[in-house]
Amino acid sequence: MNTELSVNNVKRDFKIAWWKKAVLIALPLLVFLLSFCCGRFQVAPNTVIEILWDHFMGLFGVAPTGTYTAFQESAVMALRFPRIILGLLVGAGLAISGAALQGMFGNPLVSPQVLGVSSGAGFGAALAILLVENLFLTQISAVIMGLVAVAVTFMVSKVGKGKASIYTLVLAGTITSAFFEALISAIKFTADPFSKLPTITYWLMGSLANRSFADVWHSAPLIIIGIVVLVVFRWRINILSLDEDEAKAMGVNLKLSRLIVVLCCSVITAATVSVCGIVGWIGLVIPHICRSIVGPNHKDLIPACIAVGGAYLMIIDAIARTVSASEIPLSILTAIIGAPFFAYLLKKSGGQWK
């Protein structure tokens, strides 16, 4: 074999540039740490460091040494910490779901909303807010209805076999989304316009306000499991993006593989909606950004999405809770930033999805 094309050279050519890797690892870490300094309550950066350090050392049984008030500690550890963790998980989860679904459908315009999960989960949450005022039940309801919506999509899509199945899946997803959106409207219509309706509307727009560690425990397991499975499975997603016959010819159990991907994405998305409301644009735009950094091979794309998606939402949430006295809903910010950026990407790439 030609020595120039020896395996080592080839593999080296295909490794992501070391500096890119460094940035992708450093970015979410940096954003994570800096987020602790963002919030309406003024806490000086060195105080934040003291608080974090004490808590970190506290894990090893070391007594706290910093000088800060209980108030400041509370702001950093009880109010900001859960939000930052959730921002990381939700951002990473949605980005990775978007990437996996775009790969599976072979369509770069697909987002986690495509199968109706978000609409179903939104309906579940709205229903719970209408009937009971219990946050935990709202979250459970969101997850359950999100998965029900995906099941409905699957049932609706079973019209025949063959090449049409991917397209019928997308169509069925559109139908299911529309249906649950209509149900959400019906709930809004019957809700008390003075107290329930504003709560439902605000919730649907997405927010991490008032999130505590309890919410982290409720949603993190689902999101993390989904992410882990997709990471393990990431190289196979390349195969799912091929034509059906080609994919089958690689020895892949197409039905099972698709089911796994859809299940993971649905669980992740439903869990994010349960804890955060409906946050759009991340699942659609972040995979594209990552493709332009590491290429379309899902082996590298999926991990990149975790880093960039997580960092993105942590930044967005930091903005949402700091820029003004009133909390800005997340989906407003992700859209205001995401849409123009997507337009820019579109123009730059000339329609070619690199």
Binding site: A70, E133, L135, T138, T199, R321, S326
Partner: protein, 398 residues
Amino acid sequence: MSKISKILAVVLSIVLLSSMFVGCAGGKTTTVTKTATTTVTKTVTVTGDNNTTTKPDEPEVKPLSYPYTVQDQAGRTVTIKKKYERVAFSSVRPLPATYFAVTGNIDTLVGMNPSSRAAALASMFVILCPEIANVPTNFIVNNDTNIEELMKLNPEVVFCLNKNTDEINALEAAGITAVGLNTNGTDPIELFADWADLIGQVMGEQNRAKAIIEEGRKAAQEVKDIAKTITEKKKVMFLYRDQGDTLEVAGSNLYSQYWIETIGAVNVAAECNNVTAVSMEQIMQWNPDYIFITTFTTCQPDDLYNNKLEGQDWSGIKAVQDGHVYKDPLGIYRWFTPTSDSALMLKWIASKTYPEYYKYDMEKEVRDYYKTFYGYELSDKELNMVFNPSSDAAYYVK
């Protein structure tokens, strides 16, 4: 200005000047214990587009010859055709209670907003008028008036929000007299005055209205005078709603601004407009000295004192540490908004925030007020209910 108006103005001024030396006149039995006593009797100059002015101490001259016209708050000239016996309120939730205060009974009330009903059932209104529970509300769905359902109740006059032009037109087309009321404004005393006066004119009964309006203005002036002497600006916050996932405060451009500023304090949430969702951190940053929780939410002071709410930490807030968290009382209606109890609200919030300046005996104030203006003697239990409202008043339909 026409000749007659000129004469009227001169007569008015003479009466005004003489009243100042005469002092309090009939109809007012409330006494205020404070350091400086200045009793000012203002003439009831009706704001809005109404031109009739009357003198405070003289029996009202009622033009009982129908029809006559009044100017409503939607800029319309409304013809009052007769003494109405079937009245409905579709929007503006404090109105049924206002109506009761103005007319003294609810015999003629045939329909009202379900949110008003919920408030009525949780407040003094149902104690004063048990029949309020039977007033139909089903013609309102999702805060919209179903005209045909309303027509089934056969109302003769309907009071609604001045901005609901569609509803007003539909009512007129159905042959029902529509009267629009304005809710734009931050001064609850004056806003209530507008409502009471207009309702009084429409119903052809203005005595009660005038008395309460005057009482409100008197209280406002008293408080303002004292407020001028206060130099320490205490930080006050109205917690509008804190339940489930929602944390909202009442900012400026809302009644909260009036309640807080009039008594000489400062609204920490003034940078927010109207009702705004904020983060716990923002509240920590403001660190209010006093917190007043409205009756629009199920939240109670205990929830803050015991830090029961997930994702929020109230323990470091000064108001919580000093024990200065109060639930707005619930009298005839929610005291946050303009009501016939507004004079009491002003005195109450003043005495809570600056007890060293405003020395009102609120229990006595409330008892006397209810006796005078509603003709009702509150029992100890009922008085307790006023000052410690349950969380139920927050709900829409019961």
